[in-house]
Symmetry: C2
Subunit: 202 residues, 2 copies
DNA sequence: AACTTTTTCGACTATTAGTCGATTTTTTGA
DNA sequence: TCAAAAAATCGACTAATAGTCGAAAAAGTT
């Protein structure tokens, strides 16, 4: 009842690395068990299927990202900055490994879609609270907050995570965010300074 | 040089149906050739790989949708209605088969993502022209049109194609569209009447 | 020590995408 | 018209895959 959990974590870590470096489809169960030094039967003692293991790996990834997001929310920075910080934290970006690159690879569509879906599911309620705080402070003015927050996340993900972007994309993103949340013009323009210009298309 | 093209089209049609009804991953090459009554070698005479065939099937799907979109654009309806019509035409929706349902199935992520990506690539320029027309007529007022159009497509796709939606989603979509394009409040509220309420979540 | 439960093993199966050389059918041009 | 060239078809074969299963070893329990 104890050793088992450890082995499971160990397998998840190995799979996590291999999925990211080679893609989910290109990582065979055989190669995972070889890397782990266990037999086929052992693998299937811990995981129902390869896909179920992928779910578990994703849950693991999400968990740590949500922790970061929660910390940011509890911190004491201005609401607009807080929102942007949470949105950024939700993309692996500069973090540990080239996770972002890995997720961009076409052989990782499945993983990519699943991560995004779960992340949005879990971050929308968190971020909605922050926006609500902004509304009560008079920084924002809008209704249907969760629906708006979702749009924010979808677009930021599409613009900044899934592809290369231009200055125009940033300008439109800022404009859209302000209008979507009912903020004064200029409220979100600090975003421009945060962007890593090296990631930008010329 | 003639018979070949016909066979190719025939195979594409068969694959199209099978991919949609069973999902891409669940459709084996063996089952396709059985359905078509040909040998393995013949299949690979026409297609490099199963995935390359998927691309071809998608191109086929896109092509017909783009034709429809182009017709709408040439038609003589008001600009705001035109935009919404194009966006709707871009989702298979009520069309022929339960394509939409098929693309929603988790076993079709790959196909789904590829269709969306290609569709956006091809529709953004078309729709941008329409918006430009709207700007010159004073209905809209905005810059960076292609970037804004992309957002419109991404969000409409996420909201109306990928999941069930609520009244709030519609309200936010209308509000966002108006603000994104710089239209007067109410310009896009006709959208509400177009929505098939039966598709809505309760 | 005798037992039960948890964990591990690896040979085995069934299915898959893709290869290849041989063969048949169709086209072409002299 | 007919033979050579090109296009199209065939199906047995390979290599890799995810997943199964019953037996055995290890760890816990009494």
């Amino acid at each position: 009842m104890k050793k088992g959990e450890k082995r499971k974590q160990e397998l998840l870590k190995i799979a996590y690395k291999m999925f990211l470096s080679q893609g989910y489809e290109n990582t065979s169960v055989d190669s995972i068990i070889e890397e782990a030094g266990i037999a086929k039967g052992t693998y299937y003692y811990y995981f129902e299927s390869k896909e179920q293991m992928l779910e578990a790996v994703i849950d693991m990834m999400i968990e740590s990202e949500v922790e970061t997001a929660a910390q940011i929310i509890e911190s004491d920075i201005p609401v607009p900055q807080k929102i942007v910080a949470v949105i950024s934290s939700v993309k692996p970006a500069e973090a540990e490994q080239p996770i972002q690159d890995a997720l961009m690879q076409p052989e990782n569509v499945l993983m990519h879609v699943k991560v995004r879906k779960k992340l949005i599911e879990v971050v929308v309620p968190l971020l909605s609270e922050v926006v609500k705080e902004g509304v009560s402070k008079g920084i924002f003015a809008c209704d249907n907050i969760p629906e708006r927050v979702r749009i924010l996340l979808i677009i930021s993900n599409d613009t900044f995570n899934d592809r290369t972007f231009t200055e125009n994309d940033i300008a439109v993103f800022i404009d859209m965010t302000e209008k979507l949340l009912g903020a004064d013009k200029g409220t979100m323009s600090f975003i421009y300074d945060l962007i890593d210009k090296s990631e930008m298309e010329v």
